[in-house]
């Protein structure tokens, strides 16, 4: 038995450590640990609830819109503010463009190097590469001279002898299986996607002033004025600019991302047999198509147990609990209890080894993440969950695309419950949303044309119009999955704030019952050809798109000093 430690897990947001027992060429057991903690919810206590979106937004700079959106929804829910239709459309545009951009960056810049061997690309024949590229897509950058240029550029980079971020990696590992031409095509698109993401995200600069950390969110609406006859508002020039970006994005997803995804997947079909994980899927649902509390959602909510696509249960947030049995916190009622987030109780209690350390105490507490459970069960959240719930709920476009992808790869529906299924679902979701973005933009333009320019519910802006005491919850589907914020407001100030975030669901440790979290469960059974180079573990962990800074939070409901702060 070999004990493998991967720390840091790179190409993710934040700090993640994986420990695994490897025997007989496969992972026998695994532990996922988050090794960073900031205490943002404690910092929020006593502050103006209208500021909370900016604080929580800084939980993550990669999914830079998600906590801001969820926070304003939670506060609006508490104080009874009702954002107008234009605010809903502006938010849908911001959220969905975030999803599209983030998923493309994940595929090419965070995940691709687990499947693509850059060094192998050097031996590719540019003519054969052009043939391959043209056979899967009519994307114009597919000529022999183009791929010759990319190969020469990589060649020169390597010959200079300074490999920078590509140094010391697993190049040549036996688990890399793409032919040199596919590797070269993927490297070319890695570079193109780097330009693409920078260009497309300018839609956030129009809608939010800047990216990362857009600055147009408001409790009750959005701060982006709309007026077709004003220079300082979103006007028709802005609409045309955004329309151009959206169409370019859709073309890139259709002609580069999806063909690449299917091409790469076709060489790794055995990964449809690894990385299933817990097999339970939870989705809050997203993209309201109308206003008010029970508006229909473009991507539906629901819960699937044991991979049973025929039964999508309605979601009941009251069934969510969090455990700290193996997390560096204590509960007053004892560490075996599960507590609902609205009553969230968190007192840090670090019992791990003193740094520097080699091993975590995996029998005891071993992570800064809690372990959320739904009806007592671990749940996977994220693109795969959303696509499965949409598929099981009869979403026509999702059903069509899932059927197409399975057909192209020649695999059955069971292939969805895997590392490969997770990667494919992310791509399909990107396409579904890239196609949808223009509808919301046109709806916004129509409203502007009719003179409907309202962007915020100003009636609840002044805290003197709020109840003396109120509570609220906000839900969102972030790129990495189901996100919820719970807020308790007293006399215009935050009394309690709690977040249960996607990476807590997915990357959390074991619970009181000993059930492994989704990462842990998904890694178990993965092949590992060389414990010194655990490339296969990275494949499955990255398929979840870890975002660890999001996962760690704390609020002490009693307001006592959380820790002794030693100022040097």
């Amino acid at each position: 038995m070999t004990h493998v430690v991967v720390d840091p897990v790179t190409r993710i947001e934040g700090h993640l450590r994986i420990e695994a027992e490897v025997d007989g060429g496969a992972v026998q057991d695994a532990w996922s640990s988050s090794t960073m903690f900031r205490g943002i919810e404690a910092i929020l206590k006593g502050r103006d609830p209208r500021d909370a979106w900016a604080f929580t937004q800084r939980i993550c700079g990669v999914c830079t819109t998600v906590h801001a959106i969820t926070s304003i929804r939670a506060v609006e829910n508490a104080i009874g503010a009702e954002p107008p239709p234009n605010a809903r459309l502006l938010r849908n545009l911001i959220m969905a463009s975030q999803m599209v951009q983030d998923h493309v960056v994940h595929f090419y810049h965070l995940h691709a190097l687990d499947w693509v061997d850059i060094v192998s690309a050097l031996s590719a024949d540019p003519a054969a590469t052009a043939g391959l590229a043209q056979s899967i897509s009519d994307w114009p950058l597919s000529s022999v001279s183009y791929f010759t240029g990319v190969r020469n550029r990589v060649q020169q980079f390597v010959e200079r002898g300074q490999l920078g971020p590509f140094g010391n990696a697993y190049w040549g590992h036996s688990a890399y299986r793409l032919p040199p031409e596919a590797n070269l095509m993927a490297v070319a698109h890695y570079l193109e996607a780097l330009d693409w993401q920078r260009d497309f995200i300018r839609i956030h600069a129009v809608l939010g002033g800047k990216n990362p950390h857009l600055q147009s969110f408001l409790v009750g609406g959005m701060a982006t004025p709309l007026d077709p006859d004003k220079q300082a508002s979103i006007n028709m020039t802005s609409i045309a600019f955004m329309q151009g970006l959206i169409r370019k994005a859709k073309t890139f997803v259709e002609k580069v991302y999806i063909p690449d995804l299917l091409a790469v997947a076709s060489f790794y079909k055995d990964w449809a047999g690894y990385g299933k994980g817990v097999g339970n899927y939870l989705v809050y649902g997203e993209y309201p198509e109308a206003d008010g509390a029970n508006a229909p959602l473009f991507l539906p909510s629901g819960v699937i147990r044991n991979g049973d696509l025929s039964t999508v249960e309605p979601l009941d947030p009251a069934k969510i609990t969090e455990y700290v049995t193996h997390s560096w916190y204590d509960y007053e009622a004892g560490d075996g209890e599960g507590i609902h987030p609205s009553l969230g109780e968190t007192s840090p209690n670090y019992t791990g080894p003193q740094p520097p350390y080699d091993r975590l105490d995996i029998e005891g507490k071993y992570s800064w993440l809690k372990a959320p459970r739904y009806d007592g069960l671990p749940m996977e959240v994220g693109p795969l969950s959303r696509m499965l719930v949409a598929y099981g709920s009869g979403h026509p476009r999702v059903q069509e695309l899932v059927g197409y992808a399975l057909g192209q790869l020649g695999v059955g529906a069971e292939a969805l419950f895997s590392t490969l299924g997770r990667v494919a679902a992310r791509g399909l979701e990107t396409l579904v949303l890239a196609e949808k973005l223009e509808d919301w933009l046109m709806e916004l333009a129509d409203n502007m044309g009719r003179g409907e320019l309202e962007i915020a519910d100003n009636s609840k802006w002044d805290p003197s119009n709020w109840p003396e005491e109120c509570t609220g919850a906000g839900f969102h589907e972030a790129p990495r999955g189901a996100l919820g914020h719970w807020v308790h407001i007293k006399k215009g100030e935050i009394a309690r704030y709690q977040c249960v975030v996607p990476s807590t669901w997915n990357a959390g440790p074991r619970d009181a019952m000993g059930q492994a979290g989704p990462y842990e469960a998904a890694i178990i059974g993965n092949p590992v050809a060389d414990p010194e180079q655990p490339l296969e573990i990275l494949r499955t962990v990255h398929s979840f798109d870890p975002c660890m800074a999001c996962g760690v939070h704390v609020l002490d409901p009693k307001g006592r000093e959380l820790v002794k702060v030693r100022v040097q």
Binding site: G14, P355, D358
Partner: protein
């Protein structure tokens, strides 16, 4: 293969040598350097071996990393970044685990005093460093070793520069800035903002590579070329402030017309950064441009001092002009000494901000502040 490689690379990417020299000229004007420096920058970029840079992430959100990926002036800025060998950066590097740590150790041990360290995120000191560990080591331990051996350190983003969000009251983890967590670190420059604008990062790196020193900085170690003037002084809505034309409600006529956001809580008058000039995302827009007040994100302790974000400045305790904002507007509308009133207000605001910041800096044992800031406007 240095010089010809670079020119060939430029040409392959459709950038002529002339375009490149033009870019260097732009950089000299961004950095307010003499024109001759343009050639010097070009020479530095073309002929030196790729300098090594390591990028550390501690209590961060990766927002500055994302900003780095948005490097604007696309083609040429991309090359400038390509010209640096980024040997360690957790978010983008291919290697993981002990291979990643070996890459970092290779730089620290193999190139002592000859690499640039970039730090993103604050550094927690509570719980003996257990609030942030990488490879089992505490952030502070890593920062002391890596920054201690670097030729220069760039603290990018407000968390690394000033402690930022994790250090906001009550600072649950004992989070510190790089300057406080690694006392005596040499050649430190701060690029605060939440996140920092990549144009300013590129500017600092080019400056450093050209002159082998950092640009002139203010008392907070922020480069003057990027943080030397207030948002307010360069704001496109300044004329509306002077004319007493303010946004009163979200979406009202004034908001749609682009009136001043001062009454909605704008912190532009006490915030120093070049957002109004260089804007964001390839010059597409900036927060005030999209209708939201500035939150002062490049100022020390802004999470505590600039909040509540939607309260206008005179409501700050100790400001001395409480309840006078409407009168400032009335004076201005009446055309009476508008500029004087505004200027006096800014001076007061600055004095307050820096007085408060000095208290905080003194409490942390930071170096005594100079009065350089007061000379700017």
């Amino acid at each position: 293969m240095s010089e010809s490689w670079f020119i060939e690379e430029l040409e392959r990417r459709g950038v002529s040598r002339r375009d490149f020299l033009g870019f260097c000229g732009v950089m000299t004007s961004v950095l307010a350097l003499p024109r001759s420096a343009g050639a010097q920058i070009a020479e530095a970029i073309e002929t030196k071996e790729k300098p090594t840079l390591v990028w550390l992430e501690f209590q961060d959100c990766a927002g500055n990393t994302e900003s780095f990926l948005r490097a604007s002036r696309p083609t040429v800025a991309d090359i400038v970044l390509d010209t640096i060998s980024v040997d360690y950066h957790e978010t983008i590097m291919a290697a993981a685990g002990h291979q990643a740590e070996a890459a970092l150790a290779g730089v620290v041990e193999g190139k002592p005093g000859a690499y640039i360290a970039v730090v993103e995120g604050s550094i927690p000191t509570g719980e003996n460093g257990a609030y942030c560990t990488i490879g089992g080591r505490s952030a502070q331990d890593i920062a002391r070793e890596v920054c201690g051996g670097a030729a220069a350190t760039i603290a990018i983003g407000t968390c690394a520069a000033f402690g930022g969000l994790p250090a906001a009251a009550p600072n649950p983890t004992g989070a510190l800035s790089v300057a406080d967590a690694v006392p005596g670190v040499k050649n430190l420059i701060n690029l605060p903002a939440c996140p920092a604008n990549v144009e300013n990062l590129v500017g600092v790196i080019v400056y450093y590579l050209t002159f082998n020193r950092f640009p002139k900085a203010d008392r907070y170690k922020r480069p003057l070329f990027a943080y030397g003037k207030s948002i307010h002084d360069n704001c496109e809505r300044r004329a509306h402030f002077d004319a007493g034309q303010y946004v009163e409600k979200w979406g009202d006529e004034g908001h749609r017309t682009g009136y001043c956001l001062y009454k909605m809580g704008c912190k532009g008058p006490v915030s120093y950064q070049n957002c109004p000039n260089i804007r964001w995302n390839e010059g597409t827009n900036w927060p005030i441009g999209c209708g939201h007040p500035c939150i002062g994100c490049a100022e020390p302790d802004f999470w505590d001092k600039m909040t509540p974000f939607y309260s206008h400045l005179p409501s700050f305790p100790g400001f001395g002009l409480h309840a006078n904002v409407d009168r400032v507007g009335v004076w201005a509308t009446a055309g009476v000494a508008a500029a004087f009133a505004a200027h006096g207000f800014v001076q007061l605001g600055k004095r307050w901000m820096y007085a408060k910041a000095d208290e905080s800096a003194a409490a942390k044992g930071a170096k005594a502040a100079t009065e350089k800031k007061g000379e700017e406007s």
